[in-house]
């Protein structure tokens, strides 16, 4: 089976070639393991540290004053959900409609600029987005608020959602558009009733990944949503969130707060993990529908 040239050079050359091949294989496996080790360690360490402090009260009770044992992070969990909801209300319509625009009408200079802006925005440090929202929302309102936090997270969602929507709308075969148009559907009906339906699974995946990404963001919330020791669901008031609460507890000098910070971290990791798995799951049927 060997090409004639290699046989001619004798066994030594072949042995060297085999050794190089084996060596590269080992290096690649080691690199893969090296990438997996920190991930496994983070998961293990967060679970080991967080699980002992995790109980029902953690989900249902409010934080206790310093020195009193027990209590939970109910306000931060609900706060995070509210912030994610607000962020979605800001980021999803803009992201999805923007993505549709880029996919359907994206052959011009303006669209090129939008694409470039989205790519740049996805690389902007999150703290910068926090400062930006501080300037345009917090300053005029003269207070930190859930709205400001939601706006900051929403802005962070836009680039991910806009680009995944664009990619997936582009993947929908032209034959489906033609079928709809040939039945007398207008362009917008074709897009919303057929193209978006076909791309649904993938768009949902993009949305879930965007949410998973912002769920753990701390920096943009520090001077927008700020944080709140008390129960608050008012949108114009500062609101608690898991990442900020974890940060506050972790830098505090109390051991029971540290334990609760670990528990909070575990909840956050679990939330992100669930969203990622759900994203994988919704992608499964995608190519069956689109072909």
């Amino acid at each position: 089976m060997m090409p004639d040239g290699s046989r001619g050079r004798g066994g030594a050359w072949e042995a060297k070639r085999r050794a190089a091949n084996g060596l590269m294989w080992v290096v690649a496996v080691l690199a893969t393991l090296a990438a997996l080790v920190p991930l496994a360690m983070v998961l293990y360490y967060v679970t080991a540290q967080g699980l002992p402090a995790l109980n029902l009260a953690f989900f249902t009770h409010m934080p206790k004053p310093v020195g009193e044992p027990g209590g939970g992070m109910a306000n931060a969990i609900v706060g995070s959900l509210i912030l994610i909801g607000l962020a979605s209300a800001v980021g999803l319509p803009i992201g999805i409609l923007g993505g549709i625009y880029l996919a359907e009408f994206g052959n011009n200079r303006f669209a090129w600029a939008v694409r470039f802006a989205a790519d740049v925005l996805s690389g902007v440090p999150s703290i910068v987005i926090g400062i930006f929202i501080y300037a345009i929302v917090v300053m005029p309102m003269k207070r930190f608020s859930a709205l400001a936090g939601g706006a900051a997270l929403g802005v962070m969602m836009i680039p991910t959602v806009i680009r995944t929507t664009e990619e997936l709308v582009r993947l929908v075969p032209i034959s489906l558009r033609e079928a709809a148009l040939s039945l007398g559907a207008t362009h917008w009906r074709t897009v919303f009733k057929v193209v978006l339906v076909a791309a649904k699974g993938g768009v949902i995946t993009g949305v879930l990944l965007a949410i998973a990404r912002i769920a753990g963001e701390t920096a943009p919330l520090l001077f927008t949503a700020f944080g709140n020791r008390f129960w608050s669901t008012r949108l114009d008031q500062p609101i608690a969130s898991l990442p900020v609460q974890i940060f506050t507890y972790a830098i505090a000098p109390y051991d029971d707060w540290h334990a609760q910070a670990w528990a909070g971290a575990l909840v956050l990791v679990a939330l992100v993990l669930i969203l990622s798995v759900a994203a994988r799951y919704t992608t499964r049927g995608r190519f069956r529908a689109v072909r």
Partner: protein, 268 residues
């Protein structure tokens, strides 16, 4: 080199049973710099099947797509000439493309059902045009599926995904989807090219039933199919309509040397 033929040559004496449904006059079509149709003129008769044959890239699909203005969606497309549907130019300034496409439906080369249930596929057209709702819509869906000879096979799986059907069933579903908006003309762009011989036969039988009510035009690579199903046949080459006439004559006694070469398999 004036192969292109004036309108009169293909004007066959008026039938009372099959008046002219579409009159194409001096149709030119460009994709950017490339001219895909050159001075095409011919009449299409009502409630008959007209077939178009020719080698790949000869413009026959482009011609078909010119008749419901599906070429409009291509960047850099330019159409000149007239296409008279019941005497009115579909490229006229006041024409509503949506209304036109409702009258002139299209079946594509590969079955392209929407990623929805069987029912919703058929109901798509009636819904966007507000033709029927509730039980009326259910009746319309049933009637359309029956016309496309698919009802018996799918009546118990109307809520299933259209992708669960076989390729041949999917193509008949696409035909039913077109029929549901009650068009006057049905354009078929190589509707059997992705199907097996049994499914192809079913589609051909279906076309024979449908021509009682619809004007049908079919593009096909299969000359036997054109000879079997159509009353009239046109032969395209390099964007020109070389010859047009009754299928029985075209396939037995072609007048143009190039038509003869093509149908006897000397090229293409």
């Amino acid at each position: 080199m004036t192969y292109s033929t004036p309108v009169q040559t293909f004007q066959i004496t008026e039938h009372t049973d099959h008046p002219t449904k579409i009159q194409v006059e001096a149709l030119d079509f460009h994709y950017g710099q490339f001219q895909a149709l050159r001075n095409v003129s011919l009449p299409i008769r009502e409630r008959q099947i007209t077939a178009f044959i020719g080698p790949s890239g000869c413009g026959k699909s482009t011609f078909l797509r010119a008749l419901n203005r599906m070429n409009d969606i291509i960047d850099g497309a330019r159409t000149q000439g007239r296409v008279l549907l019941d005497g009115e130019d579909i490229y006229g300034p006041d024409v509503d493309v949506v209304a036109l496409r409702r009258r002139v439906g299209m079946v594509f080369q590969r079955p392209n059902p929407f990623p929805m249930s069987v029912f919703d596929n058929i109901a798509f057209g009636p819904r966007i045009h507000g033709l029927a709702r509730g039980t009326d819509l259910e009746d319309l869906v049933e009637r359309s599926l029956k016309r496309a000879a698919l009802w018996e096979e799918v009546k118990d799986k109307l809520r299933d995904s259209a992708f669960s059907l076989s390729g041949g069933q999917q193509q008949r579903l696409c035909i039913a989807r077109v029929l549901a908006v009650n068009p006057e003309v049905v354009l078929m762009d190589e509707p059997c090219s992705a199907l097996d011989p049994i499914s192809t036969l079913r589609i051909e039988e279906l076309m024979q039933e449908l021509k009682a009510k619809f004007t049908i035009m079919i593009v096909t690579h299969n000359m036997q199919q054109a000879a079997r199903v159509s009353e009239e046949t046109g032969f395209f080459l390099h964007g020109e309509l070389i010859e047009f006439g009754p299928s029985s004559r075209i396939f037995t006694d072609p007048h143009d040397k190039r038509t003869e070469d093509y149908i006897t398999g000397r090229f293409g």
